[in-house]
Symmetry: C2
Subunit: 151 residues, 2 copies
């Protein structure tokens, strides 16, 4: 009971810094590999991933809320995916404002391949985390972010 003068808040800052550092380290490595080996980017992968999960495509605002990024951002990313013929914009019946973003067949295949590669990379980068501890880590992070406003 001597030390522990570093209050809980300082310890939490340490934890946050560690989370951030870890995320950046891995993200940086993945970004680099996406760029040099797949000629793509993480944000593009995220968009394609969301589209792949949805059956009939997504509208712009659905994309931007699914990815939690701002609207103007999605426009630019989708622009580039359209250029690369991985994605297409379709009209929405009954609402001429909206448009549906869908993966093209090429987009589907490309995404499937990228997803496989991505899984291998993550497995490699987290290889030192024993499989038995993964669950524990997930639990702690869940704790950290769950708002307990189920009052």
């Amino acid at each position: 009971m001597t030390a522990a003068v570093t209050t809980a808040s300082k310890e939490r800052v340490r934890a946050w810094l560690k989370i951030l550092k870890t995320a950046r380290l891995i993200e940086k490595e993945l970004r680099e590999r996406f760029r040099s080996e797949l000629d793509s980017t993480l944000p593009r992968f995220d968009v394609m991933s969301a589209l792949d999960r949805s059956e009939h495509g997504l509208k712009m605002h659905e994309l931007s809320s699914a990815l939690r990024v701002s609207g103007g951002n999605v426009t630019g990313i989708v622009d580039r995916l359209v250029e690369a013929d991985l994605v297409e914009r379709r009209a929405v019946e009954g609402d001429r404002r909206a448009q549906l973003i869908c993966l093209t067949p090429l987009g589907h295949n490309t995404f499937a391949e990228h997803a496989r590669t991505h899984e291998c990379w993550v497995d490699e980068l987290l290889a030192n985390l024993p499989a038995t501890e993964v669950g524990q880590l997930l639990e702690l992070l869940d704790l950290a972010t769950h708002k307990d406003d189920q009052s």
Copy 2:
């Protein structure tokens, strides 16, 4: 022993996604508060933090390796900090290529205030993570990123 068909690699992907999601959630909130309440940004805070820790200022390349960002990047951030009078560039004796980046008095005070605020915010955002679990989380994340190439 029935399930567990989801191979370890898929679990690691889940862990990675969770790390990323957590980091982004908190980072987004902090960025937003830095912008609206302190009229600053996370990268600027990082630079000032590194300068504050160093006794006599840092050279540009020291900054960029401390923060693990590219050189061209630091130039831009320091430019803006200089404009805001939070930081100054000093000549280095004996090496006219280099320059020492130092916090101004205003920079010191501003950083101290921002650091206090930052600590409160992090403590608030991670409030649901019991203080007793923080150490465990740090350990797991250390495990995840430590390369064991001490062969």
